[in-house]
């Protein structure tokens, strides 16, 4: 709980700095956050490589865990389809396109803005940021109540990079490979599914 509060206070502090323009422009920062992400991935890589039992884990991975990306995609899309009933001014495909961002907010919102306009693009951006932030903050609770796979499916396309460290910490080292496998496949599906739903009428 304390960890989550520290994380969210860093996020809120970032928003305040952004709104107040206390920091240089977006492009310069895009680089900084990219390099931070690289540093993070490198550190996660070290912890994985340092643990030699991990390699045995990969070899012994339950093949049923390979169904996880499918569970994530089907679970998100079916729930989003039901949720679209609550938004009568949005079409089913609008909602499905937003759902198929799977937390990959930058790419999905760019696609949706191009096909359906900036308003829906903004909803997509916010919805997918919320998904990522929710996963980062809620991972301990998701593991506690719904098992170690829950933060991985909640993290969607981000489980290969941004949410990987928190998943490693909450679900355990054993789930790093599943998380990478899952992130890779879901990430790959985002451009295809988003454009597919945007071109449907």
């Amino acid at each position: 709980m304390k960890g989550s509060l520290i994380i969210i206070s860093f996020f809120v502090l970032g928003i305040v700095c952004g709104v107040m323009h206390w920091l240089p422009d977006l492009n310069a920062l895009g680089n900084v956050s990219f390099w931070t992400l690289c540093g993070l991935l490198f550190c996660v890589g070290i912890t994985v490589g340092n643990n030699t039992t991990m390699l045995k884990t990969f070899r012994n991975l339950d093949p049923r865990l390979m169904l996880l990306p499918l569970m994530t995609i089907v679970g998100t899309l079916s729930a989003t389809a039901i949720a679209s009933i609550g938004l009568p001014h949005r079409s089913l495909t609008d909602c499905l396109a937003i759902g198929s961002g799977f937390g990959y907010y930058s790419l999905s919102s760019i696609f949706i803005t191009q096909y359906r306009g900036p308003e829906l693009g903004t909803v997509a951006l916010l919805a997918n940021i919320i998904r990522e932030v929710f996963t980062l903050l809620g991972a301990p609770l998701l593991v506690k109540y719904f098992g170690p796979l829950a933060p991985i499916s909640s993290g969607g396309a981000t489980t290969m990079d941004t949410t990987l460290p928190i998943i490693t910490r909450c679900s355990g080292q054993d789930f790093v490979i599943v998380s990478l496998f899952h992130g890779f496949l879901v990430d790959f599906s985002v451009p295809f599914l988003v454009t597919f739903f945007c071109t449907l009428d």
């Binding site: 809120v12 928003i15 920091l23 949720a83 719904f146």
Partner: protein, 96 residues
């Protein structure tokens, strides 16, 4: 994406080469880098006027769609997890 995989792999190689040593500083570095990344995510959101202006009007819509999506996906993965852990009582989805 290739770059991301390459960085991960090189980190794994470094970790493997140093496998004789306990690298206790690395988990702390991970925590600090998560803080930094969340801070930058906040800055990017705050600097984008489209996001700031849209938070009030479109935020609830986004919240609705993301929370239902997460609920659906967690339900499906929970079902998968119960299926896996019922079959074999191994830890971490591993074959015992």
């Amino acid at each position: 994406m290739l770059k991301v995989v390459a960085i991960m792999l090189s980190g794994m190689a470094v970790g493997y080469l140093l496998r004789k040593r306990r690298l206790r500083i690395v988990p702390h570095a991970v925590t600090v880098l998560i803080w930094a990344l969340l801070f930058f995510l906040g800055v990017e959101a705050g600097q984008n006027p489209q996001v700031v202006g849209g938070i009030r009007d479109l935020g609830l819509e986004a919240l609705w769609l993301s929370l239902t999506g997460i609920a659906g996906t967690v339900l499906f993965s929970w079902t998968l997890w119960r299926w896996i852990s019922n079959g074999k009582r191994g830890k971490g989805g591993l074959k015992s």
